[in-house]
């Protein structure tokens, strides 16, 4: 079932309140508002639009060697140095499946509540491109390794971080496939330079059903998937290094009518850009249809500098991939505790139940544990897990201080995190260790300093000069004066000064 963002799309469309878009937006919004009051002129005057967003995510499997060959998987390396004869598709070479990639796919499938197909098949998908030397990609189109799962993610409504709502997107399938090489386009010399280091690296393609309806939902779902993959270790899922690639399929339609024509948006390099690209494309399609135009079933690229999508040059017209079974690979058989054959070599067996028992705690479970153990709010648990290493830091501070976790969390999320963001530093690189922060918070709990003073001390500690909180307090005389007589003297001095003026 497709869910609309509670009609928010119609409201924002009328207000014209969404980011940069086609130039005519200003007048358009005014016209819509005028119509809103008056009698609707045309049929499509006030009908709400329901956007539909589906995602295809390619996650590079974290393994030492490639999916079908023994060459190394590494991000930056001299061009064409990590390429075997099979990767260059020289004649006479054959694919040999990597066991680690199968295990990674099974782990991901189990984490996303999929049913694992005990027998899955490999196919060839044919298309011509310079970075695909064989002319086909080995993938799993007919019977993939995992099907019918779900991914739950949370969104803050109304940008306030105070109310979070949980949504689910269905996972259609997860399949194993090969990556292609990289092409560098040299337009000045009218040529393309091809580097095959990435050709043949194992990918898990996660296909999601079109259950989402805006950029924010898509971004939240991808973020959650990224955290899951990183927790499992099946992929490092760093979008900047191309280990996680997302293509969005976007269409709009009126409720009650069949789905509209969809366009595919590619070249999205970060989660923020994903939200922008999806929102822009939805807006573009609505405006196009409102103006009586039609949407072409095409592939568009997202231009991050201009914040818009443009048609892609090479993907005109419908592609015919001529799928055929991969003749060099027999079916992939997976076993569980019941079907495990007695006399098989352990190295040749992938046992689904064995993998299931060894799955680490998924992010949702970790968050629930943090909330239960420390009494923090769910939104805080999200922030803790979103930042790499922050949850550990928080737990270390709590263990070394007398301050209650509910108060510690405020210091972590408001103060420490803002310092980290300001200086673009990760938790691991933080100049303030958990011990130092715990010492500082202890001073606060004992009421030796005020909370404003504590913030000053934290700023001093950030300079990383090796002083302890106590030393800084003494140096800057930030200590709270508890002695009543002294306080009386100070107050009297202030009053006297006032009288003299």
């Amino acid at each position: 079932a497709v869910r609309a963002c509670g009609g928010a799309w119609r409201r924002t469309w009328q207000r014209g309140a969404l980011g940069p878009g086609p130039a005519r937006r200003g007048q358009h919004a005014a016209a819509c508002n005028a119509r809103a009051g008056a009698v609707p002129a045309g049929k499509s005057g006030l009908a709400p639009w329901m956007p539909v967003v589906g995602l295809e995510i390619h996650a590079q499997i974290s393994s030492n060697s490639k999916l079908f060959s023994g060459s190394q998987v590494q991000f930056a390396a001299p061009p064409n140095s990590l390429v075997s004869f099979f990767d260059a598709s020289l004649p006479g070479t054959l694919p040999v499946l990597n066991r680690r990639c199968v295990e990674a796919a099974v782990m991901t499938g189990l984490a996303l509540n999929c049913s694992i197909n005990k027998k899955s098949l490999f196919d060839r998908k044919h298309y011509f491109y310079a970075d695909l030397p064989a002319g086909y990609q080995i993938t799993q189109q007919r019977v993939p390794i995992a099907v019918n799962g779900s991914l739950s993610y949370s969104l803050c409504i109304d940008n306030k971080m105070s109310q979070m709502v949980t949504k689910t997107v269905r996972i259609k399938q997860i399949q194993l496939e090969q990556d292609s090489g990289k092409s560098l386009h040299d337009d000045t010399r009218s040529q393309t330079l091809v580097d095959l280091n990435r050709a043949g690296v194992g990918l898990m393609e996660v296909v999601m059903e079109p259950d989402m309806c805006c950029g924010e939902e898509a971004a939240a779902a991808v973020r959650e998937l990224q955290l899951i993959l990183q927790t499992l270790g099946s992929s490092q899922a760093v979008m900047a290094e191309g280990q996680l690639r997302v293509d969005a399929n976007v269409s709009v339609h009126h409720p009650g009518e069949p789905y509209g024509v969809r366009t595919e948006v590619k070249n999205i390099n970060s989660i923020r850009f994903l939200a922008k690209a999806v929102d822009y494309e939805i807006q573009r399609q609505i405006e196009e249809l409102e103006n009586g135009g039609t949407i072409l079933n095409e592939t568009r690229a997202f231009d991050s500098k201009l914040g818009c999508t443009v048609p892609m040059r090479d993907k005109e017209g419908k592609q015919d991939y001529r799928f055929m079974p991969e003749p060099n690979l027999p079916p992939l058989i997976l076993y569980d505790a019941k079907s495990l054959p007695a006399n098989m070599n352990h190295q040749q067996v992938v046992n689904i139940d064995w993998i299931h028992e060894r799955l680490p705690d998924l992010p949702s479970v970790k968050r629930a544990k943090l909330v239960e153990q420390y009494g923090i709010l769910p939104e805080h648990s999200f922030t803790l897990l979103n930042e790499d290493g922050l949850a550990e830091f928080f737990e270390n501070v709590v263990n070394q201080t007398q301050m209650k976790p509910k108060k510690v969390i405020g210091w972590i999320i408001n103060d420490l995190l803002s310092h980290l963001r300001q200086h673009s530093v990760t938790v691991k690189e933080s100049p303030v260790s958990s011990l130092l922060l715990a010492d500082l918070l202890n001073l606060l709990v004992k009421k030796d300093i005020s909370s404003t003073a504590a913030k000053q001390v934290l700023a001093e500690l950030w300079k990383g000069e090796g002083k302890t909180p106590l030393e800084i307090v003494k140096e800057k005389k930030l200590g709270l004066i508890q002695d009543e007589k002294e306080l009386e003297q100070i107050c009297q001095a202030v009053i006297d000064r006032q009288e003299n003026e």
Binding site: S65, R100, P330, Q348
Partner: protein, 149 residues
């Protein structure tokens, strides 16, 4: 039996003075599958032909080429007459074999020089390819046979 008798008869023939090689392959097809199945499509449309040319990068060149393609399609179409209800498709004779799983070790690579030996052009250890996919001109702009059909 008929074949054996035929061979003996051939060998019994007097050998002509000019040593001509007698081929067992008849000079003309002895039989032809000339007609499409009843109910099947008779002709391949120009649009489909254009798409085939675009995808497979072939040029049908003239009417004979297209005719040959059509006859080939009718010939392959005979497969549709076989009843496959309830039969599992077999796509590989390997289906009963065990798929070998390799350990995740690095055993290959580092042969840049050897691989680049095959490349006609190279730039600093990259293979050189033409820019992107140069799309074939559309059917209207082509000067091929299909224009006239």
């Amino acid at each position: 039996m008929r074949v054996l008798r035929l061979c003996r008869w051939l060998r019994a023939l007097p050998v002509p003075p000019v040593r001509a090689l007698r081929s067992a392959v008849p000079p003309r097809p002895a039989w032809q599958h000339g007609e499409p199945r009843p109910g099947a499509q008779r002709k391949v449309t120009a649009e489909v032909l254009g798409q085939l040319e675009h995808l497979a990068l072939v040029d049908f060149r003239d009417a004979e080429g297209v005719e040959r393609l059509q006859k080939a399609i009718w010939f392959a179409d005979q497969l549709q007459e076989v009843n496959t209800d309830g039969v599992e498709p077999m796509d590989s004779v390997l289906e009963d074999r065990c798929l070998y799983l390799r350990e995740d070790d690095v055993t290959e690579g580092n042969c840049t020089k050897e691989l680049l030996k095959n490349a006609r052009e190279k730039v600093e250890e990259y293979f050189v390819a033409p820019p992107g996919n140069i799309p074939l001109p559309k059917l209207e702009d082509q000067e091929t046979f299909l224009q006239g059909s």
